[in-house]
Each structure stands twice: as structure tokens, then as C-alpha cells.
């Protein structure tokens, strides 16, 4: 198989995983579908020469976030699960339109071509490694990340902790 065919298969798999994620009746399976989608995305990232991002994607998005979702489902959705299962048939009907839509849009997009009417980036290709970029060149982003994580942490403290206590 050529490189391109593999890419096409991977993209198709990604879209199918996403479709399954939203179409499956049980929320738990949906969370697992998200994990699978993330994993496929991680593979794509590997293939797109972005191993570091792929590792993060695999560990955090395919690992941590589904776990968060699953534990949330565990805390909330026990009642939901049964009612959702009962509505499975209705649900399929609801998402049948999505299938058609995805096929049509995919067809349209494949036949269309992105116009090549812009220049490639000028200047030399930077040679720094992602680590250097991240740790040495984008300190401002790092401070932003600290802020984001702090906000998330306070969110947990305020929302989750109190929620559990109640």
C-alpha cells in the first residue's frame, strides 16, 4: 500500500470512529468511541511526523479524558443508560441523516480541490525540536498553560469536591 492509501484508510477510520462515537446508544460506549477516535488521531499524528503530540494525544486524550467521562457516567448516568437503550431505534433514525450527510459532504469535498493560490511560508525552515520550541521559545504560552491548569484545578476544587460532598 502506498503512503497515501494508508492515510486515506486512517482518515476513513477516524471518521467512522467519530460516527460510532456519536451514534452508539450507550454513553459509555460513546466515551470509548472517543478514546478510539483519539487513538486513531494519535496514529495519524505519528504519520504526520509529530510524535510528541501523538504521545500526548494517546496518553491524555485517549487515556485521561475518556476516564474522566466514564467516571462521570458512573456518577450520573445509571438511570440514563436504560432509558437511552430503550430509545436506540429512535436514535438510529435520528442519526441516519448524519450518515447520509457525511457521505454527501465527503463526496463533495473529495471532488473539490483546495485552490492552490497562496504562497508557501517564506524564510528558512526552522530546525528546533518541539521541546525547544515549547520550553525555550514559547514561555508566554507556558504561563498561559499554567493559568489554564490553575483554572481547571480551581474548577475541580469548587465544582467536583463540593458536588461529591453534597
Amino acid at each position: 500500500m502506498t503512503e497515501n492509501s494508508i492515510n486515506i484508510v486512517l482518515v476513513a477510520a477516524l471518521v467512522l470512529a467519530a460516527l460510532w462515537t456519536v451514534m452508539t446508544a450507550r454513553t459509555l460506549r460513546s466515551a470509548i468511541g472517543l478514546a478510539i477516535t483519539s487513538a486513531i488521531l494519535a496514529i495519524i499524528m505519528f504519520r504526520l511526523a509529530s510524535p510528541l503530540a501523538a504521545v500526548f494525544e494517546l496518553s491524555v486524550c485517549a487515556g485521561l479524558i475518556p476516564v474522566i467521562f466514564i467516571s462521570t457516567i458512573g456518577l450520573t448516568a445509571r438511570v440514563e443508560e436504560e432509558s437511552m437503550a430503550a430509545k436506540q431505534r429512535e436514535k438510529l433514525r435520528k442519526y441516519a441523516a448524519l450518515l447520509v450527510l457525511v457521505l454527501v459532504v465527503a463526496g463533495v469535498l473529495v471532488t473539490m480541490h483546495l485552490p492552490n493560490d497562496f504562497a508557501a511560508p517564506q524564510g528558512p525552515v526552522p530546525t528546533e525540536s518541539p521541546q525547544v520550541v515549547m520550553w525555550d521559545l514559547r514561555h508566554v504560552d507556558l504561563i498561559g498553560q499554567i493559568g489554564v491548569l490553575a483554572a481547571g484545578a480551581f474548577g475541580v476544587v469548587i465544582l467536583v469536591k463540593v458536588s461529591k460532598r453534597a
Partner: protein
């Protein structure tokens, strides 16, 4: 712009758009707040793919990865906060149906 680069980006761009479509569709139609957040996650997957593909297409993978990792961090924070809010909503309403979050209107 080199032809191969455009084609590479176009392929993954199409994939990202389709995932985005799926995500938006689900976001608009689902009845569960948890699924809403899963849809949001799908949306961020799609833009992540777009970003990495763009980085690869123009040989700026280092920058793209740095951005992607930052985005993953942000994603985690958003998800954590969202899940916390959903848990609190569940505590109030004993359900995560989206119908409970339409009291503020008019």
C-alpha cells in the same frame, strides 16, 4: 505552495471537516450533556488534526506540536470544568438531559 503539500493537507482537511460535521451534528441533536461534551471533544480532535496536518504540510511540525500539546492541556482543563458543572447539574436535577438547561430564556 508545493502540490504534494496541498494534497496532503487536503486529505486530512477533508477528514477534519467530516469529523467536525459529525461533532456539530451530535452537538445539535444529542439529549445528554455528557454527549455534548464528547461532541465538543470530537470538534477539538478535528481542529487538532487540521493543525498537525498544516504543520506537516509546511514543515513546521515543531511549532504545530507545541501548539497541539498546549491545546491538549486546555482541552483537559475545559473537560474537567465541564464535567464538574455537569455533575452539579446532575445533583440538582438528577438527570443530565439537555432539557434541564433551558430555563434562562427570553
Amino acid at each position: 505552495m508545493p502540490k504534494e503539500a496541498i494534497e496532503l493537507f487536503s486529505l486530512f482537511g477533508v477528514g477534519a471537516l467530516l469529523v467536525m460535521l459529525v461533532g456539530f451534528y451530535s452537538l445539535l441533536t444529542t439529549r445528554s450533556l455528557i454527549r455534548v461534551m464528547i461532541s465538543v471533544e470530537l470538534l477539538s480532535k478535528s481542529v487538532m488534526l487540521l493543525l498537525i496536518a498544516a504543520g506537516r504540510a509546511v514543515n513546521r511540525t515543531a511549532l504545530a506540536q507545541a501548539m497541539a500539546i498546549t491545546l491538549i492541556n486546555i482541552e483537559v482543563a475545559v473537560v474537567v470544568v465541564a464535567v464538574g458543572i455537569i455533575l452539579c447539574i446532575y445533583r440538582h436535577h438528577k438527570t443530565v438531559d439537555t432539557a434541564v438547561v433551558q430555563e434562562i430564556k427570553g
